[in-house]
Subunit: 227 residues, 2 copies
DNA sequence: ACTGCGCTGTTACCTCCGGTAACATGGCGG
DNA sequence: CCGCCATGTTACCGGAGGTAACAGCGCAGT
């Protein structure tokens, strides 16, 4: 943990070239950016995954801390969730290349197991799991539900965030609302649409579906899973 | 289009070796499995992504059809959602290697844009989007919400499914329940837990930990690399 | 002083990958 | 017999990650 200055310089160079060329930058390119040659990189970081790991660890700390504090903000639950979503989206918006590195790592492992979530995302999932577990009463299924939901929410926000970055369909605040609405059960609360007739040109009067319904959740409390 | 038999044989060989070695199987390995050498593969499929594409297209069809019919099953909405979830989880459970190929493709593009969802998952997301759009009344925000939710739900089920396959924490039916509960707003409906004290058998009231009672913060931008 | 040591750096090489060029077959209709 | 086309081969290229083996530098220590 001693602040090795050379290492930091090399990581800075790697950071620059990753910012510029994306996460698939070659070791040669990184070495060239640092003004040196490959073997030095390998002396310091062992192999490529070591370098990438050290590189991601830096940024992961910031993102993780931001998410964690957002998860513990003393707000109404809905506002807290929105705040977490906003923090994450703001982060990936501010430096897309960096967060693409964090969220979409190289495959890496050979005949091993293919995981879905990158280490940084795994940590975020665990953070969400912990927050759910110590903030929300889910009965005896708490452990399973919180773990499942931690991963699920992470994957959901990951996919949504990537899509949002790719094709900016709306401002960030609206995206936050859309995601929070999904988590708030709006999918189950909304009315049915008459069968058949996909794109009905008939503009039926709608009493304002409440993008941000403050107090009560119109979700139904059914299906307590009791295996 | 025309049922070219050689092509099918080669794809069968590729399928075998992918089943056995995972999605990162080399072209040499596939050629060897087929009893031939590399250039023939390249004659038939152009490049590696062509082969992988043809290989995935086969399986994508089945998975996509299964999901689509599940989405249009004439059931109560909750049961329909559970059915879709169950169909997906059953699919990835039955042949994990194949569906890892579908869901976690190789990086592929260099300096281009890094997408989150593989083609097969993109199609599933679109299917979900379409189903939401023509089954549920979401008012004027319908298009944006359905598109967002399609991607979100896909990413959520992807992450949850991968985690479930990795560490089988529960039977499939329970997993379906956990995911459906999340989509049904149980996260918002559940009761609060007294602050502090995560996994303590005897919950004694205590003052808040308060790591950072931070005021509202927007985006953070710090830690820029320097030479 | 000379030695040993640790860190910096180099050149040159290895293996494996995706991908290609060039050449060698075999069947088959004119 | 001829072309023709699909099949197949060997041999190679460029670039990736990764590894020797060797060369300089600063700086203790007796």
């Amino acid at each position: 943990m001693t602040t090795e200055p050379r290492r930091e310089q090399l990581l800075n160079a790697a950071d620059r070239v990753v910012q510029r060329e994306g996460p698939s930058a070659s070791m040669n390119a990184i070495a060239a950016e640092a003004g040196i040659t490959k073997p030095i990189l390998y002396r310091h970081f062992g192999d490529r995954s070591g370098l990438i790991g050290a590189l991601t660890a830096r940024h992961t700390a910031g993102l993780l801390a931001a998410v964690r504090t957002a998860l513990n903000e003393p707000l109404e639950r809905r506002d807290r969730v929105e705040h977490v979503l906003d923090v994450y989206l703001a982060a990936i918006e501010s430096r897309p290349q960096v967060y693409r590195l964090l969220t979409h790592p190289e495959p890496g492992d050979p005949t091993g197991a293919g995981n879905a979530l990158a280490p940084a995302l795994r940590q975020i999932a665990e953070e969400i799991t912990r927050a759910i577990q110590q903030q929300i009463d889910l009965g005896q299924d708490g452990p399973l539900l919180s773990e499942t939901w931690g991963r699920s929410i992470t994957g959901m926000v990951l996919a949504a965030g990537d899509w949002w970055l790719e094709t900016r369909p709306c401002p960030r605040a609206r995206m936050v609302q859309a995601l929070a609405d999904l988590l708030w059960g709006r999918l189950s609360a909304a009315a049915d649409l008459p069968p058949m007739l996909a794109t009905t040109p008939e503009p039926r009067p709608e009493p304002r579906p409440e993008p941000h319904p403050g107090p009560r959740t119109g979700t139904r409390t059914e299906a307590r899973p009791e295996a």
